[in-house]
């Protein structure tokens, strides 16, 4: 990677931080006692989780009748929540893998938390698969075991089985990627640890990392390999999720644009969730010098891009429904927009297509309050998108006598809350006990991308053209 940095690039580390500052700033919350704010947040998360667990118990003990499903709508909040959580997970992998391949230096401050978010989000998604099975103790039936279970064998033609493979692979690779990235930082914490318990625990987790040239060589090589593996996984996971719907014959589900459009939507919602979490984290942990406005602006640009891709896809679907001349397809789309679920459709349109357009303005992209509000709006919108696709396509089928309306029950809501409790419990534990920023990787960019200070002058623009230029690229290496 080039150490020359154009002066038109914004600094990615501000406040004249030295390498030592980075270690101190990031390790502070790992080494210190939990703050009151953290304790309160953790207590709330546990409370929500407890309420969720009660609902989960009802779902499994009483049965899926506790949900609002009916004879026509057989999938509703369960799969909506599943797709929503899987989608959220995509941002972490995109940041850690695709942005690594594109050598985006700004990923270094946000990749750790985003990857953690990915892992927890995938766990939440998986919980809905177990829930909607109704009999979770038979979950292993989804795996292609041999015939020791009798004549049982999975249906390889079903995208639901592909999902099992795609998501478990994705989860495994994400965990490995995340953990390998953690090793140098765990070693730093180990080396600084004062009490023997911390030293032992972080020492075991650090896998004997000693920071040698050889260690770093392996670290970089394996990162690149995992990035190469993860990149197709980012695409494949949501592609296969989209095929859960698109391989069917149901109007509104069966459409060829689904795979890439689901992937774009997943990245869209994932970045929104990363922003929601990071805006709080940077404030609470005082990491404003590492997660700067430049980072926030870049993420907002990704949101604008992916939100607009999703918008183009919505309009394409609508156009094709009209253009195709297929009566059922047309009805499915008119029913979405003007049928009984019009409110869901227009919520989706407003949140996903209209709201990100604010980010065309630089002042909006760099406004933390606006970003925070919009990040939540986008996630609401993406939840509605999945609800619209699933429920409005199902609730009026070919036989008008079986048309039905789905209404969520308290158990539907409680199970959804379960995933929030679960997610935030895990995320808060991560934020307390592990470094939320990849110290080692931020240190690697501090020379090339930190703010110019008295000791570190900026480069000159158009260095090759003018006599005023300083031709030495080493200017950035001081």
């Amino acid at each position: 990677m080039s150490h020359v940095t154009s002066s038109v690039r914004e600094p990615l580390v501000t406040g004249g931080k030295t390498i030592k500052d980075i270690t101190n700033d990031v390790c502070r919350q790992v080494e210190g006692k939990p703050t009151t704010a953290w304790m309160i947040a953790f207590a709330v998360a546990l409370l929500v989780l407890a309420y969720g667990c009660y609902n989960l118990y009802l779902t499994w003990w009483v049965g899926l009748g506790k949900w609002g499903l009916n004879k026509t709508v057989g999938w509703a909040w369960d799969i909506t929540n599943f797709v929503w959580w899987v989608g959220i997970g995509h941002a972490g992998t995109l940041i850690s893998a695709i942005l690594l391949l594109f050598r985006q230096k700004w990923r270094t401050s946000i990749n750790r938390a985003a990857e953690a978010m990915t892992i927890f989000a995938v766990l939440c998604a998986a919980s809905f698969i177990l829930m909607h099975m109704g009999r979770p103790w038979l979950a292993n039936w989804a795996l292609p075991f041999g015939n020791t279970y009798g004549s049982l064998w999975v249906n390889f033609n079903s995208p639901l089985v592909w999902d099992v493979f795609a998501i478990s692979t994705y989860f495994t690779v994400s965990v490995v990627f995340w953990f390998i990235g953690l090793i140098p930082d765990l070693a730093t914490i180990r080396d600084r640890a004062q009490n023997p318990v911390s030293k032992t625990v972080y020492g075991i987790l650090a896998f004997g990392w000693n920071g040698s040239q050889k260690d770093w060589g392996r670290y970089e090589a394996v990162s690149l390999i995992l990035a190469g593996l993860s990149t197709p996984l980012v695409l494949s996971v949501h592609t296969i999720v989209s095929m859960d719907f698109a391989t069917s014959l149901i109007p509104g589900w069966h459409t060829t644009i689904f795979p890439p459009y689901f992937v774009a939507g997943a990245i869209f919602s994932g970045f929104a969730m990363v922003l929601t979490l990071m805006l709080i984290t940077r404030k609470v942990f005082k990491l404003e010098d590492y997660i700067t406005l430049a980072h926030i602006e870049s993420m907002n640009k990704v949101i604008l891009l992916t939100g607009s891709i999703v918008g183009v896809a919505y309009i394409t679907e609508f156009f094709m429904a009209a253009y195709s001349g297929v009566a059922y397809e047309r009805y499915a789309f008119i029913n979405r927009a003007f049928g009984p679920y019009w409110w869901a459709y227009w919520s989706m349109m407003t949140c996903n297509v209209i709201s990100p357009q604010f980010f065309w303005f630089r002042s909006m992209r760099r406004n933390i309050t606006v970003t925070f509000i919009l990040s939540i709006i986008v996630n609401i919108g993406m939840w509605f998108e999945r609800f619209v696709i699933i429920v409005t396509s199902l609730h009026r089928d070919y036989l008008p006598s079986s048309w039905a309306y789905f209404t969520a029950t308290s158990t539907d809501i409680g199970d959804y809350l379960f995933s929030f409790g679960f997610f935030f419990t895990l995320f808060l534990l991560f934020a307390k006990f592990l470094p939320v920023i990849n110290m080692a990787e931020v240190k690697a960019i501090v020379k090339s991308s930190s703010e110019p200070t008295a000791h570190k002058p900026a480069t000159v623009v158009g260095a090759v053209s003018g006599s005023e230029a300083n031709h030495s690229p080493d200017i950035n290496k001081q």
């Binding site: 080039s2 002066s7 391989t247 069917s248 459409t255 297929v326 065309w360 623009v461 090759v464």
Partner: protein, 499 residues
């Protein structure tokens, strides 16, 4: 480390488009034109390849007669029964089956004719006259359209690539920026050819432009096409085409103007403007690239539709554009130009070709798999035509398409070393360009010429002409201005690009 040494840039370097080079390109273009003329003459006179065609024509005529009959009777059938969409689609379906398995279809047609003899035959006479009797000019228009769409695509991808680099704040590509930037100069030529070919050949190219096809009282009335007339009608279609080209050329000229002004002025003001205009272009391109694909390619099969089609076509254009950029950069370097562009930059271009070949395959699979899986007649017909239709005429191409555009670049460009070897990149780029030319061939020919396309003097002559024309325009553009954007704020980064 690249960062340790100073890299100098020849600030005044221009591509020297010598008289000898011009002569060589023009000579080859002449050869292309002569081949095209020979091809046309042979088709018109029915000799050589035409003879084969004529021989086929006897056979083809028979199948076609049955196809025509079958098509019209099915139309009549649907009218008689008052059935809606399905019957119509069935008609198209049967049409192809008739070509593929003439005898069976004929039998079916005969059966249908029995039931609705009068109406069916009347319709057959009317309808067959306008459309189904194959004339060699159809093949000429199809070939011209195919090349024009493909090369226009490469030209607009040049502009798209430049815009994306600005929006992404890309540093690595600053040193080669003038290469894709030159591609846009082909746009006016592409636009001119496409408008002329559409003006003269739209009747042969686009079934939906036929007189009376949307008129319920006409014999060749097509209810599905009539249902699309709000979108597929000549005035609106031409407005769109002119608007797309107009906007593309407008944005291209703005980007080009600012880019050249930056050479003289320095500073970052122009760069900021370029970021701004690039975002405008991207918005327009996001909408127009999909619509152009629906208009120029998808509406050739007017009954067929696919929501992914716009992005699929874009993916094919995009990877072709990337291959063309790579090839141009390599050829310039081989001739001693762009010395400051190091192998890391070339390596990155190789990565792009690799990655977007995979992306194309991803979209190809998404579209194919979902239609194959659902197996709905009006959708899957597109692939049945291409895989099995017309006596298996396109079967080999159908599979070659995936091999040359996915399997080959995927395996060939997999290793790091292959992307840093000039010869490997050349082979891959040429294969990708040829492969995606074939991809467009496969999108366009079955719809326009049915089973009457071919690879003869006409096709090879035309593609040679277009390649020479494209090379001439790009070389000429490159020779007019500096080969490097010397005041690009990212240039220093690109000079020290090191991976």
């Amino acid at each position: 480390m690249g960062a340790h040494h100073k890299v100098s840039v020849d600030k005044e370097e221009r591509y020297e488009f010598t008289a000898a080079a011009k002569k060589r390109i023009l000579t080859w273009m002449g050869v292309g034109i002569v081949m095209t003329v020979i091809g046309i003459a042979m088709l018109a006179l029915g000799i050589g390849e035409g003879k084969h065609e004529a021989a086929g024509a006897g056979h083809g005529a028979a199948t076609h007669a049955s196809a025509t009959e079958n098509h019209s009777t099915a139309n009549a059938h649907s009218e008689a029964n008052g059935t809606k969409t399905e019957a119509h689609t069935g008609a198209e379906h049967a049409d192809v089956k008739a070509d593929a398995h003439g005898a069976t279809a004929h039998a079916e047609a005969g059966h249908a004719t029995d039931a609705h003899a009068e109406k069916g035959h009347a319709a057959a006479a009317e309808h067959g006259g306008g459309h189904h009797e194959f004339h060699w000019t159809t093949r000429l228009w199809a070939d011209l359209w195919h090349n024009a769409v493909f090369f226009t695509g490469i030209a607009i991808i040049g502009v798209f690539f430049v815009a994306v680099q600005y929006l992404a704040y890309a540093g690595w590509s600053a040193g080669i920026k003038r290469v894709p930037e030159a591609f846009g100069m082909f746009l006016p030529i592409g636009a001119g050819i496409m408008l002329v070919v559409f003006g003269l050949g739209h009747h042969d190219l686009f079934h939906w432009t036929h007189e009376g096809i949307t008129d319920p009282t006409a014999a060749n009335y097509d209810k599905i096409i009539a249902g699309k007339s709000w979108y597929l009608n000549l005035p609106f279609y031409l407005t769109r085409m002119v608007a797309f080209f107009g906007l593309w050329m407008l944005y291209y000229s703005i980007i080009r103007k600012n880019s050249l002004a930056e050479d003289l002025e320095g500073g970052t003001a122009r760069w900021k403007k370029l970021v701004y205009f690039s975002s405008g272009f991207i918005v327009i391109f996001a909408v127009s690239s999909s619509m152009a694909a629906w208009d120029w390619v998808m509406s050739i099969d007017p009954h067929w539709f696919s929501t992914l089609f716009g992005w699929y076509t874009f993916a094919s254009w995009h990877v072709s554009g990337l291959a063309c950029i790579t090839l141009t950069v390599i050829l310039l370097k081989e001739r001693g130009y762009l010395k400051h562009v190091n192998m890391s930059t070339v390596h990155d271009l190789g990565k792009f070709m690799f990655a977007f070949s995979v992306f194309w395959a991803y979209l190809w699979t998404s579209q194919f798999l979902l239609y194959y899986y659902a197996n709905i007649p009006e959708e899957v017909i597109y692939y049945i035509e291409r895989r099995d239709g017309f006596d298996g005429k396109y079967t080999a191409l159908f599979f070659l398409n995936v091999i040359i555009n996915f399997a080959f670049p995927f395996l060939f460009l997999m290793t790091r070393d292959s992307k840093r070897q000039i010869i490997f990149l050349k082979i891959a780029a040429i294969a990708i360009l040829a492969g995606h030319w074939l991809d467009f061939y496969l999108m366009i020919m079955p719809g326009v010429t049915k089973g009457n396309s071919g690879f003869g003097f006409l096709e090879f002559g035309l593609v040679l002409t277009f390649v020479c024309l494209f090379i001439y325009v790009i070389s000429n553009t490159l020779s007019k201005q500096r080969l490097t954007a010397i005041n690009h704020p990212m240039l220093e980064e690109s000079l020290h690009h090191d991976i």
